[in-house]
């Protein structure tokens, strides 16, 4: 490799590692350190306690549904925003990022108010027998809101990069529009769709602020794991909170690695020259 003449490597990397250690790594290490006070059996008891398991089920179940909703509608939205023109398109495009910009507490109280029995939406759903606010459905609504941009923003550049010749080639070969989408376009955008889905899922699992207002927070029914951690903390059960936090951290870290591996694969997928099978 050529000699690098630029200055500041030691300073830049040194400061990066120091700041990373102080703000992120040391605090997370404290979490692991604290949980080491527990024996494996104790840890297992807390993590698989009835209430804890129920909360994990609620958290992962609603995050999964929300991420699936966003995968479907995010794909649709990204497609419409890239391929079609309609009045106000730039405005709509900017609005997609609202969940990134709007504080979660604001989203939480607003959604709770909208979907409550006397709210704008809840008022029309309740007579039909749908209760949204203060039920697990409310959790899904909140999680869908806060994870909405991920799939759209991951897919948009990928759809933009599809060469029009690919679609023309499929059409000349006799494929219908639907066949072209299913056999040619969807496989091309699938890695990005999965990445976006995983990002949305990962964000939804950890979400707290928007959910607690709309969920009703009934143990075993609509209590999410982050809320259970806070509840344990408020009862000064720091060890219990720590054990649950470790469970969540491990899962988050696994998801993060999965996303990175996926993105690495996307970047290298069809450029590597070696045989792939």
């Amino acid at each position: 490799m050529a000699r690098n003449v630029l200055p500041g490597f030691r300073l830049g990397l040194g400061y990066t590692l120091l700041y990373l250690s102080l703000i992120v790594l040391l605090p997370l290490a404290a979490l692991v350190f604290k949980s080491a006070e527990l024996s494996a059996a104790q840890f297992w008891d807390i993590a698989t306690g009835e209430r804890a398991l129920a909360s994990l089920r609620v958290t992962f179940g609603s995050a999964l549904i929300a991420a699936l909703i966003n995968a479907a509608f995010g794909l649709l939205t990204a497609w419409v925003l890239v391929r079609y023109t309609f009045p106000g398109k730039r405005f709509v495009d900017a609005l997609v990022d609202l969940p990134f910009a709007l504080p979660t507490a604001v989203a939480g109280i607003t959604l709770a108010t909208l979907y409550a029995g006397n709210g704008w939406i809840g008022r029309h759903l309740e007579p039909l027998g749908f209760k949204v606010a203060f039920t697990p459905v409310g959790i899904v609504v909140a999680l869908t809101f806060i994870s909405l941009p991920f799939v759209v923003r991951t897919l948009q550049p990928v759809i933009e990069d599809i060469e029009p010749e690919i679609e023309e080639a499929a059409a000349v070969l006799g494929a219908s529009r639907w066949q072209t989408f299913r056999l040619v376009l969807l496989p091309a955008i699938l890695p990005a769709l999965i990445t976006g889905f995983t990002l949305a899922f990962s964000r939804a699992i950890g979400e707290y602020g928007s959910v607690i207002f709309i969920a009703g927070n009934m143990p075993f029914i609509s209590e999410i794991t982050p809320l259970l951690i806070v509840a344990k903390l408020e009862q000064y059960d720091i060890v219990g909170a720590t054990a649950l936090a470790v469970v969540m951290l491990v899962i988050s870290f696994a998801l993060l690695l999965a996303v990175n591996a996926l993105q690495w694969r996307m970047a290298n997928r069809h450029s590597a020259a070696g045989a792939r099978r």
Binding site: I166, A169, A171, V172, L173, G174, S176, P187, A188, H270
Partner: protein, 354 residues
Amino acid sequence: MSIEIRGIGKRFGNFVALDNIDLDIPSGELVALLGPSGCGKTTLLRIIAGMESPDHGQVLFEGEEATHLHVRERKVGFVFQHYALFRHMTVFENVAFGLRVKPRHERPSEAEIRRRVTDLLKLVQLDWLAERYPSQLSGGQRQRIALARALAVEPKVLLLDEPFGALDTRVRKELRRWLRRLHDEVHISSVFVTHDQEEALEVADRVVVMNQGRIEQIGTPDEVYSRPASPFVYRFLGDVNVFHSRLHGAWAEINRLPEGAHAGEALAFIRPHDIDIERFEQAGSLAARVQEVHAIGPSVRVELAHGSELIEVELTRERANALGLSRGDQVWLRPRQVRVFAAEPAGEEFGSGI
């Protein structure tokens, strides 16, 4: 299948891409659409394929109206300049695609698909690459796979858009010979677009020279090269010396002015290899002084000055050696073949044309 183009016109905004094109492509021929970029050749090809619709005019396949037929139903094979292979599919699946998307009742059985794809891959001599992905192939291999994919649906017409444009010179030469042989084997009506005159002249049965949305000339490669129908064709197909009319009087016995043109309105076109250099003056020859002598491969190119006019002459090596030319020599030029056209409107003036 024969293709007839009747009065096709197409505009993009203010730009006239095609201006009333009429063209017949007889069954089984390999035709080149040749012209500079922006001349409308690709638009014409895309209209034949159905990927672009004309503003007016008709496309007939085998005498039947096809202008408004959807791309899917035209049964054409199209080869894209940048291949447009499906990158997430293996070579085999790429070639099989057109068979797999057929409606169920027309779709061949899996065994039949396997047989046909394998045959096609053998035809393009790449059956050993069936399980590779497009990214693992060279440019020339990708283009052959693209061709196999287009042939898989047994198209009645094969359309190729600058098929060798993205390849380097050596591969391009190899591949165009191969395309010619392939065409002789499968004998399917084919149209290919190119801006490379050498490519068109070498490969095609017939060459359609296009310029600014119009057809300048249609003919065999020999016809368009040796009897260009217009100054544009003359200039586009190889080097040419253009003499303004004041020179014309000196060579009056060799050629005649076109009907009704005055001496002041005519231009004479002579190819560099159609001029002889002599050491001594003869009747009708033109005095010139040698400026530069370059030996380029098998031939020798001589630049000469006649007054302020620069003239280029191409000689064989033997002839050049016999003459022993060096800079500053006084010589006489004799044209073997001259074509005279009425002077072009000022807008189409191309400079010296060399």
